[in-house]
Each structure stands twice: as structure tokens, then as C-alpha cells.
Amino acid sequence: RYKGASPRKLHGRFLHITDMHPDPYYKEGSSISRVCHRGKPKDEKDSAARFGDATAGCDSSMDLMNYTLKWIVDNLRDKIDFIVWTGDNIRHDNDRNVPRTEAQIFDVNEQVSHLFEKLFGKHDSIDPHDFDVPVVPSIGNNDVFPHNLFSLGPTLQTRELYNIWSSFIPQEQQRAFARGASFFVEVIPGKLAVLSINTLYLYKANPLVDNCNGKKQPGYQLLLWFGYILEELRSRGMKVWLSGHVPPILKNFDQSCYDKFTLWTHEYRDIIIGGLYGHMNMDHFVPVNSKKAWKSVTEQSLALA
């Protein structure tokens, strides 16, 4: 991917951005109580501001997204080494008058993808995979249709997603991506990778996820992929950041998926630096206990036996 490219100057900084939720129906000056899509505001407080109103419940105006990315380009682009971008690139399904469609979800995702390519890509390169600032996207529960539901690939959705993200995904991972919508990028070639994990296969709100024990379960197959990738990165002496949309905590993951995912992160603590997630919109951290996870997995195996 980087053959022939001159080495980039590294700054020791990277950006994590998540949950932009741009809403093409957002209308400045409309009524907040009508999800900022229409209506005359009841009073000044009910009027949708150009860049949005904190805690009001509307999605992001297109201006909020565009000006945010512009601010990043103007102020940070030349100071960061890579970008971790953890999904949800489309409005919520919160307006009965304009329900979301699959085509619309893909369309807005494509627009946002193009924006990232335009802003962080290497303009003088003929290789679309060549970025001044590599970007590693991951899929959010709102980026799929129906909401939360995402099945094992290859499917039309994984194919469409690959088309949208083709410049971010290394070409040799196309088939693996078609199967599981996960991939990784060597953000510092041969040294540091960022894994983009499709957390929807572990997410208990995905109706297709029962557990991570059966071989046909998407989570089981994701963990197989995860394990082989981690082992290969370890053998190459690389370090890795994990990234994904839904945070791997018990509230979000099925118990067996949570336990097994925790075990992998623990047993590869020699190479895993940490995990970066979105979805919950609040800035906080959760320490997960691997001993508890080992205990739980052992008990589950006993029960199965």
C-alpha cells in the first residue's frame, strides 16, 4: 500500500471522532419539538439553531458536520498521524414523515466517506488508498438497514459498504471484509495497526446475534477472524489499537460475546494498546475485568458439558 511512498512525518497524535449523525432534513429555524425538520417554533427555545442545540434531541445539521470537519482540517490535519472514526454517519430514524431507507443510509454514508477522502486523502497520488492522514472507519448500528440488523456476509450490504469504504480498506482484505465487515489498517506500516471491528456481530440488539458459542453465530466467526489477525500482528511485532462503534461492555454485548472478546483483549495485552468506541455519546471509560470473564467462560463450558 505504501510502496514507493515517502515516509510520512509522524507527530505522535491521532484523532478519534464518532457519531456524527448528519441529517439532510435538518432545517435551521424549524421546531426542535418536530426533530428540527419542520414546523414553526413555539418560542425562541424551540427554534433549531444553525449548528444545533445541546441536549435538544435533534440530529446534527449538515453544517455542524461540515464545519466540524473544516475546523479539524484547519487546525489539526497537519498535526495528526491518523484518524479513528467509529461510525453512525446518518440521522436517527426519528421522523415518521420521512422514514429512513436503505438507499438513503448508503447515500449519506457515501457522501461522508467522500468528504473524508477529499479532506484527508493524498491529492497528488494516483493510488486512492494513499492518504496524507490514514482514516479507519467502522460501522455503526445506525449505518445498517433495518436498524441494528446486520447479517454475516457476503451480502448486498457488505458489498455496498465495501464500495463506499474501498479507499480505506486495503485491497487484500476485500474478501475478508465481504464476510465480516471488519478490517485493519497499518497506520504506521509494519509497526502500528488499527483494527476496525464490526461490533454489530457481538451486539445483543442485533436480532441475528444469539451468542458467540455456535459456529454459525456471526460473533463466533468474528472472534475467529479477530484471533488470527491478532496472532499475525503479534508475530510481526506490531502493536494495535482496537476500534469499533458499540463499546464492548456487558450492557451492549451478549454475555458469551462479551466474555470472549474480553479474553482476547486480555491475552493479547502484549500488543493491544487499548480500545476506542462510540455509540453512547458520553465521554467516559469502563475497566473490564478479564478474571471475571475467564470464570464466566469456564462456567459456561461446564454448563454446556
Partner: protein, 302 residues
């Protein structure tokens, strides 16, 4: 019996997590929109479920260490008083179920502020250690990734087709008829469960300071109320809407990981666990942490 044990354990685990589940149910109810509901309750649940637990384990560990040191000092004093030759004696071992607390047993899940104005929009710039990278300029040559991925596909296919051995157990059956019957069955036949980390591997950048260890972060936020005021003011000054927007819209530093009142020396797992302890024990620090969790939007549960 195993079922019963497993069920009762599960129930107690569930009790622990129920509160956090209830508190976070708001998040599910919110799925159709972005308005925050019950988030303070959720943060309290995080404190109760995770941070308090860590604080109590760390404090227990500290008291055991202090007791052991005191025991050791008493033994040494006794030996000196009796004028006997110094003998090394170990401190008394604590009986009971308490396991040794180690930061190595934890992994940190970092959950980020969103751009969508559930609270104020925000994002984070992480800083990491690059020292030593220049010494690694010689890169070993490995097989190309496309070869690895071809093999990977075969491996996963083979693993999934092996239906006779759902957990690998039946796969050991033919050993009964071979010379290898004395061999122990594999300990980790389920490939979705990892093997233990080899003992000769050193802890990585998340645990010990080294190349790529996260050292600091800067949290940025956009104060939407202020931005809107500035925008309206600029419009009144007869600026074109786009000019007014460019002038008014900006992100500011909300806080940094090394800022008061809980400056973190670095961002290793042990630093996060220490912070968890402080958050559990100090209400003043907790208030600041929650205000930052909500991107200084002033959000409170209704």
C-alpha cells in the same frame, strides 16, 4: 448441578449489572432520537458497578500489603532483639478468597463524546510515545498480506466445517485407537477462546511505558450556546451568513488528561484504575468527571 451453579452465578452477575441495564435502558428508548434521558443515572451506575468495585479491591490490596509489611518488620525487630542471626521470614499470608489485585487483569474501554449534539459536540486527540521508533527503521520482511488472507480464509472455512467437533471435543475420539492415546486433549479446543498469553511476552504499551504508549489526550468541544450567540451577533453586524458562521464556529479545548482536578500522569491501564479509585472516593472529582462526560452541557436528569 453445574446448571444450578451456573444459573446462580449468572443471577448474581445479572443483579450487579441490572442497575446499569435499567439506567441504560434510556439509551434504547432514545434510539429513535438523540435526546438524552437518565444519563446521570447511567453514570452513577458506572461509578457503582465499576469504579467502586475497583476502589474496594485496590484498598483491600493496599491494606494486605501494609499488614504484610508490618508483620515483616515485627519479625525483624524480634530477631534483632533476640540477637540471633537474621533470618528471612515471609510475612503472614492472608487467608480468604481475596485474589491479588493486578492492573494487568483489566482492559480499558474508552467511550467517546459524539459530534451529534446529544450534549455539546466533541472529539479527542490522543498523544502517544514515539520514542524508539527511529531505532526500528529496519523492518523485517514478512510474507505479503494477500498470502496471509488467502490462508486465513482456508483456516476459517476449515474451522467452520468441522461440525463433528462442535467444541473440538469429539475431534479427540480417534486418539483412542492410535499410539497417541496418552496425549492430553487440547486445552483450548474452542477457537473463539484465546490461549493464554505466552509467559515470555512482555506487557504492551497499554500497561508499561514504551513506544506507542498513550501519554496524554486533549478533549475538544463546541460550546453550541456560545457559538449561536456569536453567530447571531455576527449576523446583526451585517455579516453574510457563511462569513458569520466561519467567524462564530470553533472548537475549544474542554480539558486535557493532565488537567486538574484529576491530572493523569500517563494513560496506562494503572492510571485509569487509579482514576477509578479517585472517582469512587472523591465526590468533588466525580462531579467534574460527570460534567465532562456531558461535554459541559450542564445536562441533568429530569
Amino acid at each position: 448441578q453445574a446448571d444450578e451453579i451456573s444459573q446462580s452465578e449468572k443471577d448474581s452477575e445479572l443483579d450487579d449489572e441490572n442497575w446499569i441495564g435499567d439506567a441504560a435502558a434510556a439509551s434504547d428508548a432514545r434510539l429513535m432520537g438523540a435526546k438524552p434521558v437518565n444519563k446521570e443515572n447511567y453514570m452513577d451506575a458506572v461509578r457503582e458497578t465499576y469504579y467502586n468495585n475497583i476502589a474496594s479491591k485496590m484498598n483491600k490490596q493496599t491494606s494486605v500489603v501494609v499488614e504484610e509489611q508490618e508483620d515483616l518488620m515485627n519479625v525483624e525487630k524480634k530477631v534483632k532483639c533476640q540477637g540471633k542471626k537474621h533470618k528471612k521470614k515471609k510475612g503472614k499470608k492472608k487467608k480468604g478468597k481475596d485474589e491479588k489485585f493486578s492492573s494487568e487483569d483489566y482492559c480499558i474501554v474508552n467511550i467517546a463524546t459524539s459530534v451529534i449534539p446529544t450534549f455539546n459536540p466533541g472529539f479527542r486527540v490522543w498523544e502517544y510515545n514515539l520514542t524508539g521508533l527511529e531505532d526500528m527503521s529496519e523492518t523485517k520482511i514478512y510474507k505479503p498480506w494477500n498470502q496471509f488472507f488467502e490462508k486465513l480464509e482456508e483456516k476459517i472455512e476449515a474451522e467452520l466445517e468441522d461440525d463433528l467437533a462442535p467444541n473440538g471435543r469429539l475431534g479427540t475420539f480417534p486418539l483412542l485407537f492410535s499410539n497417541e492415546r496418552q496425549k492430553k486433549p487440547e486445552r483450548n479446543p474452542d477457537k473463539s477462546i484465546p490461549s493464554k498469553m505466552p509467559k515470555d511476552r512482555k506487557l504492551g504499551p497499554g500497561y508499561e511505558p514504551q513506544l506507542f504508549s498513550p501519554t496524554r489526550y486533549v478533549q475538544y468541544y463546541a460550546n453550541l450556546e456560545k457559538i449561536d450567540k456569536d453567530y447571531q451577533k455576527a449576523l446583526k453586524n451585517h455579516l453574510d451568513p457563511d462569513e458569520a458562521a466561519s467567524q462564530a464556529f470553533k472548537y475549544e479545548v474542554e480539558y486535557t488528561s493532565d488537567s486538574e482536578p484529576y491530572p493523569m500522569p500517563s494513560l496506562l491501564t494503572r492510571d485509569y484504575l487509579e482514576l477509578a479509585r479517585m472517582l469512587s472516593e472523591d465526590d468533588r472529582i466525580w462531579q467534574t468527571f460527570v460534567a465532562r462526560a456531558f461535554s459541559l452541557s450542564g445536562y441533568r436528569d429530569e
